[in-house]
Each structure stands twice: as C-alpha cells, then as structure tokens.
Symmetry: C2
Subunit: 486 residues, 2 copies
C-alpha cells in the first residue's frame, strides 16, 4: 500500500518568486523536515496540478528540479517517490525507502489492517461493528465523577509511586481477588498501564527470543505484535465448545527444548466468546504444570457474564505459582483510565516492576487513585449490574438482526458473556474485499483474519460499541454488502 | 549482592506434623510458587533458627531434606541457595541462578543502586537529598483539584484515544509551544506516558542496535537503561560552563558508519544545572545538521528558571526537522500525571505513535484531560510563578548550608534554574561507602557515579524534594559523615 502525502498548501501567484520555485521550496521543506518520509509517494502530477491550481507543465518543471537534487525519484508504474531526507541518513543509510525505515528498531509495525483500524476509529460518521470497547455513551459518568469529587478533598499529592504501583489500590485488589478465589497479597500484584502493557512487560523482560507462545485459534493476541516484536512465535491451538484443546500442544512442545508458554482467555474468549469449562480448566492447568509451561491467563471479561457466573479462573486453582493472571478496568469500567494488573509470584512481579520503572516510571497515579475510589465505594459493582443488563439487551438486538438477515449465509454463537459474537460465513466470502466495501458504506469491520491467518471467512462482531439504535440497520446493510459480493 | 529471602512465618509447635516437616513444606511452597526465585539465598542456619524459634538441628534436618529434593544447594562461603522452581525450567533451563534469570528477556535490569534508590524512596523516615522530584508538600492541590472539578461536569467519556493522544491537549500544547518559538502543529506532537516513555519509544522503534548515543558527561541518561537495553552505546562528551563541547564528538563520529544521535539537556542540565549558552546552541545545531546527527532535546526544566529566562530551545531554531523535542509535566506540575510529549516531524511522530499503541494503547485519558484543563485555565502559569520562588528559597537554604559546612572540602555551582546542585569533593571521598554510611544515618544520596562512571567523587544534590526545614541539618549531618570517611 503506497503512502501518498497530503498537500495542503497553495502557491502565491502574486509573489515575485516563480510558482515552480515555490513548489520546489514547499516540497523540499516538507521532505527535509521529515514531515514526508522516505518511501512516501507524491500524488500523481495531474492531481498535484489540480490541488495546487497550476498547469501540469509547472508541476513537471518543479519535479524535474527536485529529481536533480536527488530527493525524489520516478518509480515506473508507481508514481514519484521520496528518496532522501535528514533522518534517512540516520535511520537507513543503505536502504533508503520507507519500508526499510519502519523496520528499523526493535519494534515491528502494527499490521496494516490494525493501523488502518486504529486511525479509522477516530473518523467521524463511521459505524464500528467490531470494536472491543464499550460505547462512549455507556461511560459511567456518575461513577467516575463521584469518585473524582470524593477524591479531591483527600488528595495529598500526585507523586511518582513505587515500582509496583499505588499501595491502596493493590490492597483493594488483593481483597477483591479473594472473592474470586485468588489468593494474592499486595506484593503479588503489579499495576500496569492496561493489560497490553502487562503482555509487553512479560515479553521483553522474561522470555527468550525463540520462545513459543501457544494461544487459541483464533486469538486476540494475533492482532498484536507484542510477542512477535520480541522474536517469539505464536502457535495456534484449536478450540471446541469447552475451550482450548490442550492435548494438541503435545507434539509441538517436545521439539528441541524451545521454551514455551500458554496465553489463554478462558472466559468470554476474545474473539469467539467461548467459556472454557471447569473440567477443561483443571485439565489445562494440570497439563501445563506437568509440562512446566507457565500460563498467562487474560481475564479481561470475567465479570461481564450475561447470566450465570462462569467457572472460577485458572489462577484460582494455582498452587504452584505458574499462572500469571491479567486483570483490567478497560472492559468493565473505562478504557481511558489505562489501568490493568498482573498477579503472580513475587520474584516475577518484582522483575516486571523493575522493567516497568524503566518503561514509563509507573501508570498514572491519578487513574490509580480514581479506580481505587470506585472499587472501595461500591459503585463499580453497582455499575457492573447495570452494564450486564445493557450488554444482554444489545446482544439480543444483534442476535435478532442476525437471525433476520444472515440466517441463510452464516453461523454464529450466542455468547454467555463479554462483547463478541463470532460469525462464520457458510460460503466463502472474500473478507478483504468485504472490509473495503463495508468501509465505503461507513461500516468498520474486524475481520477474522486479524485473529488468525486461517480465519479468512469470519467476522468478530461486537455489540459493545455500536449505537444500540444502529445495530439493526447496520447488520441489515452488512448483509446487503455480503450478498453483493458472493 | 546476594538476595536473601524474607521469612515471615512460624511453625505450629502444637501440630501433629513434625516441625522439620512444616519447615520443609513452607520453604518448598515459597519456592514452588515462585515467591523465592532461583539464585536467592536462605538466611544462615543460625538466623533461620532464631526466626523460626526452633533448634538449629531442626533447621539442619529440614535443609537436608530440601537438598535431597534438589531445590536448594549449599554454596561454600555463600550460604544456601535456591536452585530450582517451576519458572526456572521456562526461564533459564541451563543456567539456573538468579543472575542469569534476570538477564532473560530483552530488557536489562536497572542498575543495582537505582533499584535500591527506587525502593528506598518509599521507606518512611528517609531524607532524600538527591531526588529529582518536587516534594509532595509542594503538590499544587488547588490547581489539580480545581481542574478536576471543572472537568467533571463536561466529561463525556474516558475512551481509548487515537495513536497521538488527546486532540485538545495537542492543540493546547501546539499553541503553547509557539510562545517558546517552536512551530509545531498538533500532528507534530505525540503524547507519551512521561518523557521516559518517549525515550523508550525512540530507542525501540527507530534506532539500530549498534547506534551510538552521544550525551553530556555526566548525564541523567546514564542512570537509565533505555538505550543500553536496546543494544546502543552511550558516548559521553565533556562540558564547560557553556554546555556540551560538541567539537569532541568529531573523532568518534567518523569511525565506521555507525549511526549516531545526540541526547542533550541544554537547559538546567540534569545533574549539573548548566545552561547551554545561546551561541553554543547555534553551534551544536549547525554541527549536528552538517553531520546529519539527529538531536533529542530533553527540555524538562526550561520553565523552572530561577531568575532570568534561559535561551530558547534548540528546537526553536530547527528548520530541518532534525530535533526531537521532549517536554513533560512531571517536573513543573505533578509527576503522578505521567504525561510528557514528543515534538518532531510527522513521519517520525506517526511511527512512534504506532509503536506506542502496541506498548500501552495510549497514556491515561484522565491525566491528559486534567493537564489540558490546567494549561488552558491559566493556573499552570500561576503555579509556575510561585514554584520558582519556592525553588529559589530552597536553593538558597542549601547553598547557605553548603557554605557553612562544606566550604573547605568541596566545590559546587549556583544553578540558575531547575532542581540540582552538583557537588565535587576536593579530596577523594569513597562515594559507595559514603552512600551506605549516609543511608545508615537516614540520608539517601544520589552519588555522581550514577551519572557517569568517572564521577566517583561527586554528588547530585536536589533542593526540590527534601523538607525545607531539614535542609540545614541534613547538610550538616552529611558533612559530618564525609569528614568521618576521609
């Protein structure tokens, strides 16, 4: 995908300086100050002429001069590319193109679809049918503002905190976790800037580059680069209605002493909504303990059950300290707080805390204080009760719409908790094309291939973000688009 | 430094289970759940016997059993070490000791002194004479709580934000930076979780492992592992009273095409307090532009001038986009907000934003909203006026005390801004010993060697954190300790 630069400037036709010279100056300034990077493309000459309101011949002269400077270059069939600037000398002295520049540094780029989604999510007028976030309209304004109001009189500082985070919050969480059957003292708990940071910390501070990370097929973790950036490989394991088919890990584990780890979302799985059964949890824990495979249990959705409570977390049965448990306030309260927590053995928590101090010197103290307030004054639990009802209502609307518009062309589950409905098309649907077509109609989709390369015929639908009134009509519209493609 | 585990348990002497068996169970549980890591040491048998209130022979039996299990091992002259647990199989299958375990993963440990300081800072009753943080007593409570109060009625959500951070805050900063002579549109600004994260982002997303980072001797950056963890080398450049002696970079730059970059704190330098002169800024900028060395300008202290305004930032003279400028609210308002910003060319800002989304999905939205409120309602600038006066008063107290107690044994500067006084001892003082002796007397010091290996005879003093009433007596006490060592 070529990156085309944005031209938001017009030459001054009354100036004494020739227009072609003004264009040369404008373009070289944008390139030399790095706004336009190596490997980006200029718009085609015709488009450029229209934008700048000049003749095509003027553009032609200006581009010839820039070519003679060696800072742009015509690429046959691809347009005019930027090939040199100040940063390029630093960043990629031998291979001066945008592709190699973004590969500089340890960190991989986000997947192109994810980058696109990250940006499009902030474009007005787009209906987000797959977003893993509660609608801003569901924001528990009173819960948060009451907490802020009761916090302000007693706030004595906003200082740096110790490596593990706010003591009071860790006390509160330690207490709360006990009610879920998890025994964790405050020294077993590290506060992170969201669960994503917890994964990042584990990846960069504990694992070797060739480690193997087992995960479900499909899995949310496939949409991230967190382990891949650190040189680890994801290895998908199939699921059934009871969860991960752990016995399929057998063969792979034995090959050549590579260390491995299991990343799992046993409850209200992202993206499939599957809940691992109690029996399967026991077996997975036993299997991993016997084979010395540590488990990362991501438990972002446990509290968002729609009816019956799900089985206790795997961490609750952990006597050997081999489960690192991740919790977060992002899915059940407010993502913008950016607060999560890792629960694990002290030695691991200390190591992760030491690295966290080097990454960002701790999560926002303000966010931690507000979250602690919300947890201790009981309003969090009250909100959860409401929020569950809302989720059920939204889910039912979406299921109804699916029954109405998709019955003959797809299959889906009825999740017992969380945000997501996983939809498989019966016949083959080109999902990349679907993504683009839907976007043209203002619908942003999370296609299955984000969560596993093999899932090219599926969608992750979310009933948490989209406006409730829009659910029916956007599912209807989506059905129309799908039908036009098959 | 051996890590000795903490034993906070007593056997139940009334139990039917033999006491030695209880001890075996306790120790294996602590080890198997990972609370006690590989390579940690048990307390000596005598100490263990005292703590557990049992005979030494009982300890001896218990340890023999544990040794037979292969989970502890006597190391001659060093005590009894832990040599195996669940995590160890994963983390360091061949080299089972704590040292190699913490080296697993991409990230280096913090320096031992820094780890110690990070922890000791949260111990009660310690006087922190070198801490780079404003005293919690100076917390601008009204400024922050007023902002929170005026924010709550208009808060409509706490959602995830786009890759660059809160639009309103970037607008406000763009406007504010103009008054410092820096032209930056919101698309040139990325909000980070503090300046430290900005450095982290630059290090992991843009630089090659063998890059060379020039910095001042001494420099704050030496106390961090941010570049070293990513495989880069720090190369110190000497300073004079006008700042960095850039001409000394000459020789090193040429050797073998290694890409390099300059990290500098030109204004109220940490740790020396030096302000780079305007002339020197021009020369440094010109020199770096000519040699295509990008500059990271860390400007955390600019606004904390004590009297006259310092020269404009290097970024203000940047026409080629080769300066990445770092700002933060941590030193001038409240560290616990954890908000900083990077200003640079759009292509670089986009790349850093993409990686930030992978690290933690953005800084706290709440912190960003509060900071924006404080900036636009004018209370930030009002607070700065007060804060500068307070800093001057605290500095003068410290200078007076130094004049009184250190005149014959040390030299120091009178900084024109920021937090720090840099003190060089005239005769040699063993600073590691000084650090420990001072700690025994309840004084926590930041010794010079944290900021450069060669600075073994210096201290960074800070007048920002210590209680004002304690300045005189702690400097007096420090003088007494120093004199007892030389």
């Amino acid at each position: 995908m070529n990156k085309i630069v944005t031209v938001d400037w017009l030459p001054d036709k009354k100036s004494k300086e020739p227009v072609y010279q003004q264009i040369v100056n404008y373009i070289s300034r944008k390139i030399s100050n790095g706004d336009w990077a190596i490997g980006y493309y200029l718009p085609p000459q015709r488009v450029l002429a229209e934008r700048l309101k000049v003749n095509r011949s003027t553009i032609s002269i200006a581009l010839d001069i820039l070519k003679s400077y060696g800072i742009i270059e015509g690429k046959s069939g691809k347009g005019t590319a930027i090939i040199s600037n100040t940063w390029s000398i630093m960043i990629s002295s031998n291979e001066a193109n945008w592709g190699s520049y973004v590969k500089s540094g340890f960190f991989k780029e986000n997947l192109p679809t994810i980058q696109l989604i990250n940006k499009l999510e902030f474009v007005e007028g787009i209906t987000r049918l797959g977003t893993g976030e509660m609608s801003p309209k569901l924001f528990p304004k009173e819960v948060i503002t009451n907490a802020m109001n009761s916090l302000t009189p007693k706030m004595s500082n906003l200082s740096y905190l110790g490596p593990l985070g706010l003591d009071e919050l860790r006390e509160t969480l330690s207490h709360r976790l006990k009610s879920f059957g998890i025994n964790a003292s405050p020294s077993n708990i590290l506060i992170t800037s969201g669960s994503l940071q917890a994964l990042q910390l584990i990846s960069i501070s504990m694992l070797k580059p060739n480690s193997k990370i087992f995960c479900e097929i499909p899995s949310y973790i496939n949409s991230l680069q967190v382990f891949q950036s650190a040189g680890m490989k994801l290895e998908g394991i199939t699921m059934d209605s009871e969860g991960l088919q752990y016995w399929n890990m057998g063969e792979d584990m034995k090959c050549g002493g590579v260390s491995s780890l299991l990343y799992t979302i046993p409850t209200h799985h992202n993206p499939t909504g599957i809940v691992m059964s109690e029996q399967r949890r026991k077996e997975v824990y036993k299997f991993c303990s016997r084979n010395a495979i540590p488990i990362i249990e991501d438990d972002a959705y446990w509290e968002l059950y729609h009816g019956e409570k799900p089985p206790k977390s795997i961490k609750a049965m952990d006597v050997s300290g081999s489960v690192l448990y991740l919790g977060t306030a992002s899915k059940s309260l407010a993502p913008g707080l950016r607060i999560g927590w890792v629960v694990g053995p002290e030695s691991i928590i200390e190591r992760l805390g030491d690295v966290k101090m080097q990454l960002d010197y701790g999560a926002s103290s303000l966010s931690q204080m507000v979250l602690n307030e919300v947890l201790i004054n009981g309003s969090y639990d009250e909100f959860l009760i409401q929020f569950r009802t809302i989720l059920v209502r939204r889910k039912n609307r979406m299921l109804e719409a699916l029954n109405h518009y998709f019955k003959d062309i797809a299959k889906w589950n009825n999740p017992t908790g969380g945000y997501y409905i996983w939809l498989d098309f019966i016949d083959e649907v080109p999902v990349e094309k679907l993504f683009n077509e839907a976007l043209n109609k203002g619908l942003l989709l999370n296609t299955g291939n984000i969560y596993h390369v093999s899932k090219t015929n599926s969608l992750r639908l979310s009933f948490a973000y989209v406006d409730e009134e829009l659910i029916n009509q956007s599912i209807k519209e989506l059905s129309r688009i799908v039908r036009s493609l098959v």
